[in-house]
């Protein structure tokens, strides 16, 4: 390992803020992941690893989680980091601001700090995925001495974030770049290796590819260029890529099907859609072979995946037959593509074409991100593309889309399709609170088998967003959240 050097990474779009405790969108995570840390990290096998917590224990009954913190950790402003910060972050700050953590915190009875370097979480009941909640974007530890007693959202320090991570915030030229510098007081000896990181804002995908080719940036995070360029760039000399680093998120692409009204409310119609789609073509042509056709709600990268489910191969004849059975009258259905760039647009076009081939009339609806959000929140769609993260555990990232209690207007992230299956609801709940992995595995297998037959949504692809980088950049991705985690282990070969 060699120390020193500068790394240029694309960030797209420009993050609204770097205060990870308040804003958790992708670009913010990418940058702020260098600044803020949580108690644990997760390997690409999703196993927890030490971070701010040196070690931890979980009681047998699965109700008590005890974390022992690193000594000698300092905030970027030089103040010491202690367990009080952790308690403040989890119990006060994030409870108020982080929707994702709230799901886990609902199971928590108390958070206490017996001493400066120990934190204890006590749960009300066992919650299987709880150990997955200590990732940097779910539970970023924020400095108590800066935020306590202030209005978190308007605290002026949000613009100059203070964390414990390996890199410190230096400068943000809006619309152009964000500059981070090495944290010389980082608690791990010799780390980080890099001197500085520039996150570059380049709004046009084609320009981003050019930037990489020209050497202006050395790392392209997954999804920052269109798929067609991925193939071209990875074929270049001295360019490496990795599919790793998305295990925790396991982005799972599917299309919401409106289960409430119209033809999509009919199960057979939804099945017809599944048969009509040529998902291998979608994978090969639109995603350039990246990813994997999804078989059901749980990604094969996530724990508790089961492949023992009904299969939906590309079978137009079958689709036509199903449509005939239910007497489909040619009423057009509306497709709402995900407004995230050309790939998604092409994808919707391909689906439209597939559906029209079996006789389903399709209107493509167009909107920008805001309009898309609005339409989903208002359930104003028939078919709508999306992809969701699974956060390493079905109870965190999967069940939310299928539970009846999550049917509520106003959010694009709950049970938007309106699927209501009380039987399954019970099973989801049972699987979540079980402390025994084997039992969880069994219940999830049952769930998957049943739900896939119902087709509440049209599962499409387990997405893969390869990270592309110059081969002399070593170790850019070492954990399950990839570049969103800190680059403390990354170094440049001269």
């Amino acid at each position: 390992q060699e120390a020193g050097g500068r790394l240029d990474v694309v960030v797209q779009p420009e993050p609204p803020s770097l205060m990870l405790g308040l804003v958790t969108n992708g670009p913010t995570q990418l940058v702020a992941g260098e600044i803020y840390e949580s108690l644990l990290r997760y390997g690409t096998d999703l196993k927890p690893q030490p971070s701010l917590a040196e070690s931890w224990e979980i009681s047998k009954d699965g109700l008590t989680y005890t974390f022992h913190l690193h000594h000698g950790v300092k905030w970027h402003d030089g103040k010491p980091f202690t367990s009080a910060d952790v308690v403040f972050s989890a119990d006060k700050f994030l409870r108020k601001t982080n929707a994702r953590l709230r799901v886990s915190l609902a199971h928590v009875a108390s958070i206490t700090a017996p001493d400066d370097y120990t934190v204890v979480f006590k749960l009300k009941e066992p919650f299987g995925p709880f150990i997955n909640a200590f990732e940097a974007s779910t539970m970023p530890i924020v400095p108590k001495h800066i935020y306590e007693g202030t209005d978190y959202a308007t605290n002026p320090m949000n613009n100059t974030p203070i964390g414990t991570g390996p890199f410190k915030f230096d400068k943000w030229v809006k619309g152009s770049y964000i500059h981070l510098v090495k944290n010389k007081d980082y608690y791990l000896e010799g780390k980080p290796y890099l001197d500085e990181i520039y996150y570059r804002v380049i709004p046009d995908a084609a320009s981003r590819a050019v930037a990489f080719e020209n050497g202006d940036v050395q790392v392209l995070p997954g999804g920052s260029i269109e798929n067609w360029d991925v193939k071209r760039l990875t074929a270049m000399k001295g360019v490496c890529s990795t599919g790793k680093g998305w295990e925790f998120f396991a982005p799972h692409a599917f299309a919401w099907l409106n289960n409430r009204e119209g033809w999509t409310a009919k199960k057979k119609f939804r099945q017809a859609i599944m048969y009509a789609m040529d998902r291998d073509f979608m994978k090969d042509v639109i995603w350039n072979g990246f990813g994997k056709v999804a078989t059901g709600p749980i990604s094969s990268a996530t724990n508790f995946y089961s492949s023992d489910v009904p299969k939906y191969p590309h079978d137009p004849a079958k689709a036509k037959e199903l449509l005939k059975e239910i007497g489909y009258d040619g009423t057009p259905v509306r497709i709402l593509p995900l407004p995230y760039g050309e790939t998604w647009q092409r994808w919707a076009e391909a689906m439209k074409q597939n559906l029209e081939e079996v006789g389903i009339k399709v209107d493509m609806v167009s909107s920008d991100v805001a309009g898309w959000n609005q339409k989903l929140s208002d359930w104003d769609y028939d078919i709508a593309f999306t992809y969701l993260y699974q956060y390493g555990d079905p109870a965190l990232g999967v069940s939310r889309s299928y539970l009846a209690k999550n049917i509520a207007k106003g959010s694009p992230w709950n049970n938007v399709e309106g699927y209501n299956n009380p039987e399954l609801d019970k099973k989801w709940a049972a699987a979540a609170v079980s402390a025994d992995p084997a039992e969880r595995e069994k219940i999830y297998a049952e769930i998957q088998k049943e739900i896939v037959a119902d087709v509440p949504v049209a599962w499409l692809l387990e997405l893969q967003f390869p990270t592309i980088y110059r081969c002399n950049i070593k170790n850019p991705v070492s954990t399950a959240i990839g570049l969103n985690d800190s680059l403390r282990d990354t170094w440049i070969e001269k």
């Binding site: 995908a205 269109e226 071209r232 593509p337 647009q345 919707a348």
Partner: protein, 279 residues
């Protein structure tokens, strides 16, 4: 009239322009006959270069759709957007400018404030916002383009009408007992036609370009094939398949060029001074 045609025909550029435009119009009208296949249909493997497979003279795009078919069907949309938005812009701008110029006073003042308002917001920005608000569709795009392009028409017409309304033939019409409306529409406007026609021909061109720019920013109508869409969709593969954006680019260029040439020809033909001097 015949003199006008003669003058127009003398301008070789204008004739070439007319020819190109005619071809485009014919292609647009008969698109379904020339290329019965839907331009969205995926017919072959993607990224076939042009002239490599018979039946697909221009190759295929990123999804394996026939580029030639896209080009033919795209002509329709581009022309419709260009013509209809220009028409709408004229329908807004001409009466407004005419009434403002003819009546003057507070009517003029009010009309010009409104016009100024629309001119003060950068037009492309306004178009973007309007399309985003109305959600992209052929109608909203056309309307948005029309809304941002009428102010110059209104100003032009107002200027012309103001210059014409004190001309003696207008006074003569007034003495003949004609109503204001007949004077304005029967006597003044016909005489302001030539600059309006010339401007309109340029506006059609600008509108086509605007539509393609909107498409580029992802604000096109996803249900219809247009040249702008084709370029926008192909720009991400510009490095590996440059021809995909080049072909529709050339189509736009030729059409706009044609309209420009025609506009210039009209300009010369309608301007007796230039026509006589032979430039």
């Amino acid at each position: 009239m015949t003199g006008f045609l003669k003058r127009f025909a003398r301008n070789r550029g204008a004739l070439v322009g007319l020819l190109i435009l005619l071809i485009v119009v014919v292609v647009a009208i008969f698109a379904p006959i020339i290329e019965p296949r839907s331009p969205w249909q995926m017919v072959q493997r993607p990224f076939l270069p042009p002239f490599t497979m018979s039946g697909l003279p221009l190759g295929t795009d990123t999804l394996g759709r026939d580029v030639a078919s896209g080009l033919v069907h795209g002509a329709r949309v581009s022309l419709i957007v260009g013509l209809v938005s220009t028409l709408v812009a004229l329908l807004i701008g001409v009466p407004l400018g005419a009434v403002a110029g003819f009546y003057g006073g507070w009517i003029d003042e009010a009309a010009m404030r409104v016009t100024e308002f629309f001119q003060t917001i950068p037009s492309f920005a306004l178009a973007i916002v309007l399309v985003a608000i109305m959600e992209p569709s052929l109608t909203s795009i056309t309307l948005a383009i029309a809304i941002v392009s009428w102010p110059p028409v209104a100003r032009l017409v107002r200027g012309e009408v103001m210059a014409l309304r004190h001309r003696e033939f207008v006074d003569a019409a007034r003495l003949a007992g004609l109503s204001n409306r007949r004077i304005l529409f029967g006597h003044i406007l016909p005489n302001a036609m030539s600059p309006i026609i010339v401007m309109a021909s340029l506006m059609v061109a600008t509108a086509i370009l605007l539509e393609s720019s909107l498409s580029f920013l992802g604000l096109g109508d996803p249900n219809i094939m247009s040249w702008g869409y084709m370029i926008g969709a192909a720009r991400t593969v510009i490095r590996s398949a440059w021809w995909l954006s080049f072909i529709p680019g050339v189509a736009i260029l030729l059409t706009v060029l044609a309209l420009n040439l025609i506009g210039e020809g009209l300009n010369d033909a309608l301007n007796p001074r230039l026509a006589r001097k032979g430039r």
